[in-house]
Symmetry: C2
Subunit: 523 residues, 2 copies
């Protein structure tokens, strides 16, 4: 290959690359990867020995047998009583045989089917799905430059990002809490927005009877489903947190039981910060988290045997200097991996998170988030909450962080592409190596031409230009590039199709429930 | 535990934590982790099936058997000829039996002993050691705000960081190329600086006879060693790159052979960018990299059976839009993991890198670097080059990036601490869980008090405060915090002890060699 043809070849490929990729990916603002369920083919990282697994299991079982969990919800307490648990006041204890018998009823794999069935999600097995940041009360973006209380508009914009990015598989809770909507009707307005803006799987908060019943009804309407159809397979999911240590509160269990009866997706995630709400030792924190989680799984199975459950981990550590929660730490990673081993031991799908302690989308934010996301991969996590947009230990949602995180999520999706590690004759490519010899370049050869459009991951917010090209284009750093993309995506966003009659029915339901006063706000 | 005592407890711990940690870590500027060799206890991630390993091996062998490698160094060519290889011009071919016979002579584990024997390093097995960025021609720091050509002072400052941080185990090549020193004597001045500033293992460039001989002599002097003592065990190491595709040049092989004869550490790292200097398919790029690397190992073993070798990977991909190299990509991660499998197949220690394409130490820099560092962990890499301070695909060294990377390296070191995953009765902590019950806090209990000083990783550049505390302290983002630490570390840096007579002998050697004209600069 002559120097001349070498110089010419990249030009041809550049043009071709852009056209080809746009055809393949079809997006106005960025060339993103197509919608796809990633399957985690890596053997999980297992820091616990078999004896360690038994020790953590034994710890969790002894917590349930000897110490017990406080169940503040009277209805749940009565269900546990009838099932044969030992009740003392609000303290519930049960033998490990009973725990294992009920946990075994929970399926190890299940699905979530949203209003667009093309977006149906597998939960469990090797599937790994990602959802947006949920529940921060505050919002930060570069145009504001400071932390502000969340609004409905910010919440809607973050849901537009959720819909836009193919690497986000499900919509979590409120991507930012819209505190400009009264709490009594917030669930109605946000669920309406959510069901219009996205056709992906949605979440509901287990915050008492009215919110759960209202949002189940809205998801049913949005899907154009009968009640029987809604109940037949999980259409949405909830996530509850225990009040660690060793306590489940009234509204969360209420929602949990309502969702269990209708066989919707059930995720329980104790918030066990080691050294604060759990032992300072990570295996103890994991054992406690499991005990708190498993009792909720047992409750769901008593009510509705076979109800789809997943066990979550939010075990991290506090900063012992300040008491502040820390995320993406080595201890967090190991706790996530240990919980993965235990989830497989119990045959339950697992949920973890993409989290950080950093306050702004800078270097620290990205190494902490990388640590948490890679530990999700290493642990065999199935559902990754907060996978995009999380800052300040979950107190801030940021669109720039959302977009930066999506680059990592796309890379994880590509990382799982088995094509990268193919070793057939075409990939070992002896003929190509012989053709180029020791004095040429692989740019121009047919073996490269046939593959260059799909051979490598193509980033959308990373800047791979050299310093001079980057500087002469303004020297724009990552968060600012992400901010620019955020504006473009929002400006050109188009809602997914939704039948007009369904939209009207949803609006009418919201209006009716508002007239009725929405949900009580006394908790 | 009463609310009052809860409030009081964190204050006591904060004070105690600082004192305790300072005692334990003993550092003026930051509380860093102690010097320690991390051992990687994770099972490696293995994307290749056993058949895949055989296919990549077969590819590498067929390259050596059928296509051959161009050996530009006449002395090396003669050695290969005498050993029975098929020579055609400068093309060298050999059968797989010969390759495997010689590769089997290379030890799977060896050591590197610097002038301070307390800093002796294991190479191979489960040990994982980290070195600083090497060889960027340019430098960037926040006070400059732009990219500039490297100087001796910048080079020395980066070596001070190398010495300062316990998580950096070995000194690589020039952490930035000091272009203000003439190339003929650069190796003399920098090696003098290096041997004064650091007592850790040092590297030398294989850039022709004089540089290698001069620097071996200087390392011998610095260690107070006889020639026999120097030759008895590896005291330093070199790294050579092939001129991919399929070529080894004159000066690098010259240095390689000189180092082999004196049984110093030998690392060969082909620079095989898929789609440019290697096939666009990753397994082909890995096979080619192995062929280029293994022929150097064979050369070393012919010259000096049992010489300590390691095989490096620098297989990544180019950006097919611009031709620019990309780092920390999914393809990079998988290539590193595949090479790890192959290094174990051949029984050789492995070298990888901590790398990124980003131009400044922002979010992109940290997710790319995190990807590359975690793939080093996943692949079972033994030596991690460029683990701190690398930007712009290796064209820029940055002290801020250096310090930010050291936070990740410390976290990896802590991640390997088996204490995190202990599952004895003290760690499962049933008594502590029973003691706290469902209405308390683990902050104040004895189980926590006994462990909080060492229970969790403590960061030095991460800011774990909440947004308000962070903002009121100036809202300083990660690179600026790193810059501040950089200044403090340099301002208070103290060189490790070095005998005055040795220092004088080193200075005299440098002066003599300068009078003699240093090294030729005609290549």
């Amino acid at each position: 290959m002559s120097p001349e043809s070498e110089a010419a070849a990249p030009k041809r490929r550049r043009g071709g690359g852009r056209r080809g990729a746009a055809d393949r990916r079809g997006s106005a603002v960025i060339e993103q990867m197509p919608w796809k369920i990633p399957y985690n083919t890596d053997a999980p990282t297992e820091p616990l020995t078999p004896e360690g697994v038994e020790a953590v299991h034994d710890g969790a079982m002894r917590i349930l047998e000897e110490i017990g969990i406080e169940i503040l919800n009277a209805e749940a307490l009565e269900i546990f009583r009838k099932a044969g648990c030992t009740i003392s006041g609000e303290n519930v204890r049960m033998g490990r045989d009973m725990v294992l018998e009920y946990v075994a009823m929970a399926p190890s794999e299940w699905t979530l089917t949203p209003r667009n069935p093309d977006r149906t999600l597998p939960v469990g097995g090797n599937a790994m799905i990602f959802g947006n940041v949920s529940s921060p009360p505050n919002y930060w973006d570069m145009s504001l430059g400071t932390k502000v209380a969340g609004t409905r508009e910010q919440c809607a914009n973050l849901m537009r990002l959720t819909q836009y990015f193919n690497c986000i598989h499900f919509a979590g809770g409120y991507p930012v809490e819209p505190v400009d909507i009264h709490a009594s009707v917030r669930h109605l307005d946000v669920m309406y927005d959510k069901l219009c803006i996205t056709d992906k799987v949605v979440h509901t908060y287990s915050l008492g009877k009215e919110r759960v019943e209202d949002t189940m009804e809205m998801v049913r309407i949005a899907g154009g489903l009968t009640h029987e159809e809604f109940d037949a397979t999980p259409r949405m999911y909830t996530n509850i947190n225990s009040t660690s240590p060793l306590k489940h509160d009234i509204p969360m269990l209420d929602g949990w039981m309502r969702m269990a009866r209708r066989r919707q997706g059930l995720v329980v995630t104790p918030f066990t910060l080691a050294g604060a709400m759990a032992p300072v030792t990570m295996s103890g924190a994991v054992a406690q988290s499991l005990a708190e989680g498993l009792i909720a799984v047992v409750l769901a199975q008593i009510i509705s045997p076979g109800a789809p459950c997943a066990i979550g981990t939010f075990t991290s550590n506090v900063d012992m200097k300040s008491g502040a929660p820390a995320f993406g730490t080595p201890e967090y990673m190991r706790a996530t991996q240990m919980t993965g081993q235990m989830a497989r031991f119990y045959g339950l799908p697992m949920r973890a998170s993409g989290v950080c302690a950093a306050n702004v989308p800078d270097g620290q934010a990205m190494w902490e988030t990388s640590n948490s996301l890679w530990s999700a991969v290493q642990s065999g996590t199935n559902m990754v909450y907060h996978a995009a947009g999380w800052l300040e230990g979950g107190l801030i949602a940021s669109p720039e962080k959302f977009i930066m995180d999506c680059e990592i999520l796309q890379m994880i999706q590509r990382y799982f592409d088995p094509d990268i590690c193919k070793t057939g004759p075409d990939e070992i490519a002896l003929d190509a190596i012989a053709e180029v010899g020791n004095d040429g370049h692989f740019f121009g050869i047919q073996h490269t031409q046939d593959r260059y459009q799909t051979a490598f991951y193509q980033p959308f917010v990373s800047d791979w230009r050299n310093y001079e090209a980057w500087e002469s284009a303004g020297g724009v750093q990552t968060p600012e590039r992400a901010h620019h993309l955020f504006r473009q995506i929002i400006d050109t966003f188009e809602e997914p199709p939704l039948d007009v009659a369904i939209k009207e029915e949803l609006a009418a339901f919201v209006a009716m429930r508002k007239e009725e006063g929405g949900a009580p706000t006394d908790f």
